[in-house]
Amino acid sequence: MTVKPEKRLTKLVLRFGSIDWEKATAKQYELEKDERVWRAFINGYAKNGFVIFDEEALPREELLEKLSELKPEIRKEEAVTVGELIESSYSWNNILGRMES
């Protein structure tokens, strides 16, 4: 069924102990390919990132197992709905120019 806006997702903010750009892009692809992952960003340079995923469909243990070679450490955890994620993505909520002025 088409997704409902009130569907709950989990956001894990992560720190990685073993990572470089090459590993990061490969893992980014692997995670993003999974339909249960809604957003991911693995930064191989800053050694941090986050994953927003559907924990009902993708157990946290399975996700952390996927990330294990990067030695992940959970720094923060948040709950977010699909509706909130969509809203937070809109252009008008993310204007870089305002930060500059």
Binding site: T2, S89, N94
Partner: protein, 594 residues
């Protein structure tokens, strides 16, 4: 001759027959790993640097992002990368001179609004408009449905029987439109509704009205036109709702090369004429050894229907998916390759040097921002697209490309100098503006050669009105006698260049709040198009429950033998294909089957 008659057209038979004969193939050069590494070390790195040039690409099998080399050999430009699956080379541009001529017009724009909280460091795997992107949305695409009335053999996108149906709600469509409209500092102003086949949506008229409500000046439908051939009322309704353009699939002059809608085109044209629009842009997907011998004929065809055809936009084939080298050598064509064929097939009337790359518009836009405060920057990568205008001198039956009577390079360079000058001023009052407009008009004369200009077109009047009075009404007349010619080469895994994708101007809005470039959406569908549409699709059972009267087969178009026979003998068919002028002296309509 193999033909899709008495069945839902899929093109399979026609393609098999077209490709039995091979006219030419491109030999890809060999390069050793040592040579590759050596060149990569010395390669330029900044956008628009000389060849060899270092960029990033995708591996077709393992989907890794890897360093890639854009380099020259034997007058052609190649792209090579070392993937885990081995060294992969493909042709990037078939003419190095054209590459350098276009490179001169590169232009970057900084987008300052994003959809994702990342830096784009894993580009193109972390997509949504991000801080790394260098163009605003020039044309927004919204997929209205994955239902389709045809069953193209190569298409993995349309819903087969029993598969999930993707069809965003009106509210989702409105928010996707708004998302691109609110990009900062410049929002989208043009939207293309696509599919599947967008005309299958019952609420299409309402959707077009929503686009207008959301402030889009330009609305176009990417369509095969089949429904429009048989429903004149629908053409009228979509026009009245505000559709500006039908971006109409048109792959060739014969039922074989244009198996999608050859027989229906005369009816589509007739219905558009009766409705007084929308304007038509013919879109030939251009494939070496398949339809590249008909490009001049397609332009000639457009010129013969200039009352409704506004342009021809060639799309050199994008070979998405895993494609063996032999097939790429056989079917690959690039922008300079297509332009060369057009030069040959129009007897030199439309030549290589008549074309300009898309980002030249960025230089012109800079002037208009300084002069008139109007902003729309078309700043794609210089290798992504090319365009020109040709004028039809009806009196003398002559076709004249714009650069034959306007020194485009000189005039754009002059406008850029002026932009720089104005940007240095603190204010631009009315009097100063009028004075500047007059100066530009006077100077324009030195870039304009009346001797070669088409008769009946008041170019000087148009320029005078635009620069001195800010009046663009004369542009309407300009369009009545001019045919836009464009080239847009979408990428695939084999010629993928991350520098190109980060400058992309043709984007897709997704219902999850992101806007992504065309060549991430379609080339990496497992991360974007297919994944997100799966998340937002209805299962077959849900769809059927929501639409109890709907039947899959009713969506499909069955081209009957009787219809084809009727069309063959019809006046409208003759008028459309047979009784047409040959503007290039090459008898380009001769291959049309009577």
């Amino acid at each position: 001759m193999a033909e899709s008659v008495g069945e839902v057209p899929s093109g399979e038979k026609e393609f098999a027959e077209s490709t039995r004969r091979i006219r030419d193939i491109i030999e890809f050069p060999e390069i050793s790993e040592e040579q590759f590494e050596e060149m990569l070390r010395k390669a330029s790195r900044t956008y628009g640097g000389p060849l060899p040039h270092r960029t990033y690409s995708l591996c077709p099998e393992t989907r890794r992002v890897v360093p890639a080399l854009v380099w020259e050999k034997d007058g052609k430009v190649w792209i090579t990368k070392r993937c885990p699956e081995g060294m992969i080379t493909d042709v990037y541009y078939e003419n190095v001179e054209q590459y350098y001529r276009f490179q001169k017009w590169k232009f970057d724009f900084k987008l300052k609004s994003v959809n994702v909280e990342n830096t784009g460091v894993n580009c193109p795997f972390d997509c949504g408009m991000c801080a790394r992107h260098r163009s605003h949305t020039n044309l927004l695409n919204i997929v209205l449905t994955n239902r389709c009335n045809l069953s193209c053999w190569y298409c993995f996108f349309y819903a087969k029987e029993g598969q999930p149906i993707y069809e965003p709600t009106l509210e989702q469509i409105r928010m996707m439109l708004r998302n691109a409209k609110k990009e900062y500092p410049i929002g989208a102003n043009a939207v293309q509704f696509t599919g599947g086949e967008p005309t299958l949506r019952e609420d299409l008229v309402e959707i077009i009205k929503i686009a207008k409500e959301e402030g889009y000046d330009h609305v176009q439908l990417n369509t095969d036109g089949i429904k429009l051939a048989f429903e004149p009322e629908l053409v009228k309704k979509i026009r009245e709702a505000g559709t500006n353009t039908l971006y109409l699939s048109y792959d060739g002059m014969t039922p074989q090369t244009n198996w999608k809608n050859h027989w229906e085109i005369p009816l589509i044209f007739e219905n558009v004429r009766k409705a007084g629009g929308p304007g038509i842009v013919l879109v030939p997907t251009t494939i070496r050894n398949v339809n590249d011998h008909e490009l001049g004929a397609i332009i000639n065809f457009g010129l013969n229907h200039l009352d409704i055809v506004r342009g021809v936009n060639f799309q050199p084939i994008s070979q998405v998916g895993r494609v063996p080298k032999k097939e790429r050598q056989r079917f690959r064509i690039t922008i300079p390759g297509a332009i060369k064929r057009i030069e040959e097939q129009t007897n030199g009337v439309i030549a290589m040097e008549d074309w300009y790359p898309i980002p030249i518009a960025g230089h012109i836009a800079r002037f208009f921002e300084a002069f008139a405060g109007k902003r729309y920057y078309m700043t794609s990568h210089f290798a992504c697209g090319a365009a020109t205008y040709v004028f039809l001198d009806r009196e003398n039956k002559r076709v004249v490309p714009i650069p034959r009577f306007i020194d485009v390079d000189g005039f754009v360079e002059f406008l850029e100098e002026k932009a720089e000058e104005i940007e240095g001023w603190k204010t631009l009052g009315r009097l100063k503006k009028l004075k500047l407009g007059a100066e530009i008009f006077m100077k324009f004369r030195s870039f304009y050669d009346e001797k070669y200009a088409p008769k009946g077109l008041d170019v000087l009047g148009l320029i005078k009105n635009a620069f001195m009075h800010g009046n663009y009404d004369a542009l309407g007349k300009f369009h009545q006698n001019a045919l836009f010619l464009g080239m847009m080469h979408f990428m695939d895994e084999y010629n993928y260049d991350v520098e190109r994708v980060e400058r992309c101007v043709i984007h897709y809005a997704m219902p999850d709040g992101r806007i992504v470039p065309f060549c991430t959406f379609n080339v990496i569908p497992e991360l974007y198009r297919d994944k997100v549409q799966d998340q937002f699709s209805y299962t077959w059972e849900e769809w059927k429950a929501m639409h109890p009267d709907w039947e899959y087969q009713k969506d499909k178009y069955l081209r009957t033998k009787e219809f084809v026979e009727r069309m063959k003998n019809s006046e409208v068919y003759r008028k459309t294909y047979i009784d047409i002028e040959d503007y290039f002296g090459t008898n380009p309509g001769s291959e049309v089957v009577e």
